[in-house]
Symmetry: C2
Subunit: 202 residues, 2 copies
């Protein structure tokens, strides 16, 4: 008899890049407008390209009542080697761990809003509905992402209407030009377009 070969699996870890802390305002800083919140998400998307830590996507979750940042996120697909590590997924998981509860819609004192530098792909669109987030604000749109070769996936055409029915409001096109500019620069500089099946779509 041969000895039984045991299984070992890698531990999955997601950590934000070290540069992130320096890119954030002081803790407790009150963001006073949608534009200022979106500009943080866009800045993260830009720095993520410049530092080479991932794709051109940033996100940030805010306490809607206080206007303070709860959790940032950047795309870590390439650096982690995990295709689920999109900016929105990272920020949602971090917000849940930071706040200590799963349903971000269950806080009686406030609600939580997600700012994403680009409209979420199908996966992130799905995850948002599990997070309890009640407001999604987007910069660049699906067409901007597709224009540089990224695929947004299989999304219901009426997802925004379905979000509304679930109590999630959506605002599109906040600082869109600035957000889309990060995408086009990423492409111009030869950034990797890393769709799962790049061979099919590019």
């Amino acid at each position: 008899m041969t000895s039984r070969q045991s299984w070992t699996f890698p531990e999955l870890k997601m950590s934000l890049p070290q540069w992130i802390s320096n890119a954030l305002p002081e803790r407790g800083h009150q963001f006073d407008s949608d534009e200022s919140k979106m500009m943080l998400a866009i800045t993260l998307s830009k720095l993520n390209c410049e530092y080479g830590t991932g794709g051109p996507f940033g996100a940030a979750i805010f306490n809607a009542k206080t206007g303070t940042l709860v959790a940032p996120g950047v795309n870590l697909v390439q650096s982690l080697g995990i295709s689920g590590a999109h900016a929105e997924m990272v920020s949602i998981a971090l917000a849940q761990k930071t706040l200590g509860f799963l349903d971000l819609g269950s806080d009686p004192n406030t609600s939580y809003e997600l700012f994403s530098s680009t409209e979420p792909c199908a996966m992130c669109m799905g995850c948002i509905t599990w997070s309890g987030i009640t407001r999604l604000v987007c910069g660049a749109n699906d067409a901007d992402a597709r224009a540089i070769g990224f695929d947004e996936g299989v999304k219901a055409l009426n997802w925004i209407e379905q979000y509304k029915q679930r109590g999630i409001s959506v605002d599109l096109g906040i600082c869109q030009e600035k957000a889309a500019s990060v995408l086009s620069k990423y492409k111009e500089h030869g950034g990797l377009i890393y769709n799962g099946r790049a061979s099919i779509f590019n």
Copy 2:
């Protein structure tokens, strides 16, 4: 001047429960049918309930050519406190880290198939398209999940057709009764239905 308050964020870790290794056949075991592969996913879903490590969902990714297991997955939403930690997401990330490459569709020697004890929710449906997996096999269907109060999210009605166009085949209803039985037993035993916005949907 007050000193600048620095940011620290929790590290996100996902580890499989310790019981998993004992629930798997010896490494290298060749699964010889869709049913045997699905029964592994269903067994994982059942044990995940019995050990109290998460919701009633299991998944497993196989090397389609050799029939060997690459990465199992179970739902870890409650134990990790992360709403993205669905069985399919865990197994995809583990497969990518285990194999050492992001695009599971890029291996010239084989392809990879995901067996899920229940039809994927919107998020997992999105993630599968980024993973390079070319075949999805499901046990229980959306209706079975909804029957016990789980929400499958905002999915395009023609997602299977859209998968086909992306080179991903889908087989539904493999060992469906056994898979659905795990769901109904979970509900009978008072298992938590932890949709993000439980207050709205239950």
